[in-house]
């Protein structure tokens, strides 16, 4: 089973999420957040091979989705922190509002393009004055000096306009997979740690997000236990060796079957 959306062109994380959601429109009753989150996260793993801009935005939205998913997966008898619940609801509403705004502007953009195309069917005259009308040469201010002009030229000659959206971006994405391997390795030796320590070596926000996603994934498998006293306080991480061993054995067995 392949996702049709995979072959489509999408621009940015909201666009991707919109496509994932609407591609499920036919089976609306079976819509599940978990399915969409899984697909979304799968995309992030594949993103290294795609030229996509705004990668940290992808990961941030994924983090929100995963948070929502994690909330769904909690057993009902687990005590619920109302503050967390409220924060999550706000996050969800914000994401929803953004999706709606994004859709609205996509829709109106098509209308504006149509109008523009229609208007461009009328061609203006650009020839200007007849030769025998010789207007005084308007005085002109060149708003930069010679160095400024050189800077303008430099920028033009070094920018490739035909291939937009790629060359000015840092596309080396941190791998969530690598972050998981690293995180698990470090946790195995230190047993307890906190998130700040784990990401101390990261130089980019997007790397931190990758580690956060890795952490959520390991927590989902029970390999680590995660605690956070309150929002914005440090995230305490504890390694569960038994769970890690079980997981490891399961993986080896899976590999052996192939």
């Amino acid at each position: 089973m392949t996702f049709e959306v995979r072959t489509r062109v999408f621009e940015g994380p909201l666009d991707l999420l919109l496509q994932l959601i609407t591609s499920h429109q036919v089976e609306i009753t079976e819509l599940s957040l978990v399915g969409i989150v899984n697909e979304y996260v799968q995309f992030i793993d594949e993103m290294k091979e795609l030229d996509i801009e705004g990668t940290s935005e992808f990961l941030l939205i994924a983090a929100t989705l995963i948070q929502m998913k994690a909330r769904h997966l909690l057993p009902d008898d687990e005590p619920i922190d109302l503050d967390d619940e409220l924060a999550l609801a706000e996050e969800r509403d914000r994401l929803l509002a953004r999706l709606l705004a994004c859709l609205t502007f996509k829709d109106v953009a098509a209308v504006l393009r149509h109008r523009m195309d229609a208007a461009s069917r009328n061609v203006p005259r650009l020839v200007g004055l007849p030769d025998h009308v010789v207007p005084p040469i308007p005085d002109v201010i060149i708003p930069v000096d010679a160095d400024g002009l050189a800077a303008v030229a430099h920028r033009l000659f070094t920018t490739q306009f035909e291939e937009p959206d790629v060359d000015h971006l840092d596309l080396t994405l941190p791998s969530v997979q690598d972050a998981m391997v690293d995180l698990q390795g470090r946790m195995a030796s230190t047993v307890t740690s906190d998130f700040d320590e784990i990401v101390a070596h990261c130089t980019r926000d997007v790397e931190v997000v990758a580690y956060f996603l890795a952490l959520l994934e390991l927590a989902r498998w029970g390999i680590v236990r995660v605690e956070q006293e309150q929002m914005n306080s440090s995230i305490h991480i504890e390694y569960d060796e038994t769970a890690a061993d079980q997981r490891f054995r399961a993986m080896v067995e899976l590999d052996g079957e192939r």
Binding site: D15, L96, F105, P124, H168
Partner: protein, 194 residues
Amino acid sequence: MNSDTTRHLEAILFVAEEPVNTEELAEVLEVPVSDVIAGLDELSRTLTDDRGIVLKQVGGGWRLYTHEDALPYLERYASTDRVKRLSNAAMETLSVVAYRQPVSRGQIAEIRGVDSDHAVRTLERRELVREVGRAPGPGQAVLYGTTPTFLEKMGISAVADLPPLADHVPPAEIMETLEMPMRPESSSSGSTNS
């Protein structure tokens, strides 16, 4: 029989390389604005559908254009490819600027969910958007708005002539589709369905 004002209006609009507003026309022709308006009306009637040229009110002024029926022949005559179409990214960014102006790059990115600096720069180079001010407060982000060129390319004379945005808000069933998977209850092995 056209008035002198009408004839001179036609001559000026023939050579003008951008829309000219009535005040400017009145100044050049040394007649009251009301005469200009009457002259434009007369010119417009003279240039009826059986002519190759039309008069349009666009971008805050008036400009002569070829009749749209002639487009295929013009394309063959000039054989130059017409102005490159804007990408979807640029078109969406342009829509956000048009309806949210004055707006910063950060706000555009927030709405589109994707970095839009490249699109903004493309639109600036095409003179469809421009800096219209600076945001108050720290950072003083550049705020963007549309240009008279934008209005002209849209074939309208003011931003207020754009189709109302409210008409393009997704219908209820799409909103529901979006909201459904995000409902807290949706994935729990729910017994009740609202």
